[in-house]
């Protein structure tokens, strides 16, 4: 970012001797807009189509396949339709807070993109406190959701909003505690610093660094799903109980804000896990060409993130919703104590092996491969036994 600003000034894009801070502000503003419009918004849209297709295939249906090739443009059609809808504000609703709430939720979705590490040089702001920033700004969602739930003046909205807030506040604790093991191992909070602490090969990822980080990664993933209101933790919008939770009274563009933020958050969840535990954009150094390396790194990062997004869709299509008491029990009686054990365990581990234990990485990676192979074997066994016809063609 700094080099870009210096280069732009040197090339005389802004005339002779421009005020440096104003130029920096303009550049940062334009770049943020580009990241938001080119990456964040289309992702929030396209992922709805991907999710509907993936569900459809898991549930032996076809899914949307009419608009564009394989139904790819479905998200655009839905988007145009939803923007053209009337923006209904209930008479009894508190109209000022009702109007403001979707934008707060949207803000919490937009802000994390500032520290999204797409590649070794493609990052808007490599802050010293990047990962802390990432967890802190998502807290804004709670305020937006509570505001929407209260302002709608509808009991389902209010129950949805309060449920969502209770859930997010609770799951923030195991999620935050699961970040500490990685911070202990790298000694930095910066996104790029954490990624540079890992290697491109799986045995050098923090996921396999020691048993505690492996557990921490799983807890962080589950807690993040709960914070993003995803199944099996989607109680705030449980359709069978609460219509659509805090979004019940919303329509048109404001409803689109909620749903876009919800789906877009999947990318952020995936990006946090990828950065902390899956080696981020790390790719073997195959060429000296900086641009080519960056392209490869962007692809690596996105493949890892999209895999995690796919896993969350998979979970949503297969698992039933948990009850509210089970949700709270899982968080406070299991996740929080386990997260504390992880933190202390990693601290002891780092004290014994300050430079990491390479052999452990290989052992855990081998163990993960064995587990994966066993899983695939069981799936094939049950498919054979049930004599189910399986179509592997995703393009029907």
């Amino acid at each position: 970012m700094h080099t870009l600003i210096e280069n732009l000034i040197a090339w005389g894009v802004f005339g002779k001797n421009p005020p440096r801070d104003v130029v920096a502000a303009i550049v940062v503003f334009v770049m943020s807009l580009v990241v938001f419009l080119v990456v964040a918004l289309p992702f929030g849209g396209i992922v709805t189509w991907v999710e509907r297709r993936v569900w459809a295939r898991i549930q032996s249906r076809v899914g949307p396949n009419r608009v564009g090739p394989q139904g790819f443009l479905q998200w655009l059609a839905d988007g145009i339709k939803i923007v053209c809808k009337e923006d209904i504000i209930p008479d009894e609703a508190d109209s000022r807070l009702f109007k403001m709430a979707p934008y707060l939720v949207m803000l919490a979705f937009v802000l994390p993109w500032a520290v999204m590490p797409f590649s070794s040089s493609l990052i808007l702001a490599d802050m010293n406190v990047g990962i802390l920033y990432m967890t802190a700004v998502t807290a804004l969602t709670v305020v937006g959701v509570l505001m929407a739930g209260w302002a709608s003046n509808n009991k389902w909205s209010l129950i949805g909003g309060v449920r969502s807030a209770a859930q997010i506040v609770s799951y923030e604790i195991p999620a935050g505690l699961s970040i500490f093991p990685v911070v202990l191992m790298t000694g930095t909070l910066s996104m790029q610093g954490i990624i540079r602490g890992q290697g491109w090969a799986p045995q050098h990822w923090f996921l396999f660094a020691n048993p505690f980080t492996f557990v921490a990664a799983n807890i962080l993933y589950m807690s993040s799903l709960a914070e993003a209101n995803r199944t099996p933790f989607d109680l705030p919008e449980a359709e069978s109980e609460l219509v659509a939770g805090f979004a019940t009274e919303y329509s048109g563009w404001r409803y689109a804000c909620f749903s876009m933020a919800e789906w877009g958050n999947l990318f952020i969840v995936g990006a946090i896990i990828t950065t902390l535990f899956l080696g981020g954009w790390q790719f073997p150094h195959v060429t000296n060409n900086v641009v080519a390396m960056n392209v490869l790194e962007v692809i690596t990062f996105n493949v890892k993130v999209l895999f995690l997004v796919f896993v969350s869709m998979w979970i949503r299509a297969t698992l039933p919703r948990v009850r509210i008491d089970q949700l709270m029990t899982t968080c406070w009686k299991y996740f929080v104590p386990i997260a504390f054990v992880n933190m202390i365990g990693t601290a002891v581990w780092v004290a014994i092996w300050p430079d990491g234990n390479v052999a452990m990485g290989y052992i855990m990676f081998a163990g993960a491969i064995v587990l994966g192979a066993l899983f695939i074997q069981r799936v094939i066994y049950y498919l054979r036994r049930s004599r189910m016809e399986v179509y592997f063609n995703p393009t029907i």
Partner: protein, 165 residues
């Protein structure tokens, strides 16, 4: 130049929101207006290159205290009908207390020698804060932890469901 514009914008946001908190007739509005005040403070911390403190402010005040405040306001029965707010407090004592506080603060502001910091360069502050907490200030840090622990246990004791034989 730009830094000054940003500072005054943030200060206006903070003071304006704080005013809304104090003077709003609707207590729910007061609770939500706290968000503006907290965000303004976060912005000022960032402007002062205190990145870690800014993020902790966001995490603790917006993510924790604000949400708890809103919860408390929302779950108190009939709070929306009465429209109680800070204005209901008697005017006489309020003016006296505020006046005394204002005089003390003004006196402190006037008497202090304000040092102009050279140029603020954003530098990592996390290491220094961590070392200070576990080095020079370890006793106050631990005492604060004890206070929080006492508060936690107190909350559990108060809210615990009494089991009778």
């Amino acid at each position: 130049m730009l830094a000054q514009v940003i500072f005054y914008a943030l200060a206006a946001l903070t003071v304006g929101s704080a005013g809304l908190v104090a003077f709003s007739r609707n207590i729910v509005y007061s609770a939500f207006a706290l968000l503006g005040a907290f965000m303004g403070i976060v912005g000022i911390y960032i402007l002062l290159a205190a990145d870690f403190v800014a993020m902790v402010q966001l995490l603790v005040y917006v993510g924790g205290i604000l949400v708890l405040t809103i919860f408390a306001v929302m779950l108190t029965a009939g709070i929306g009908d009465v429209k109680v707010s800070n204005r209901a407090v008697g005017t006489g004592p309020a003016i006296v207390v505020a006046g005394v506080a204002a005089i003390v603060m003004l006196y402190a502001v006037m008497r202090t020698q304000w040092h102009q910091a050279a140029a603020i360069t954003p530098a990592p502050t996390t290491y220094a804060i961590g070392n200070a907490f576990l080095g020079d200030y370890v006793l106050p840090f631990e005492v604060a932890s004890l206070v929080l622990l006492a508060a936690l246990i107190g909350a559990i004791v108060i809210s615990r469901h009494e089991v009778r034989e």
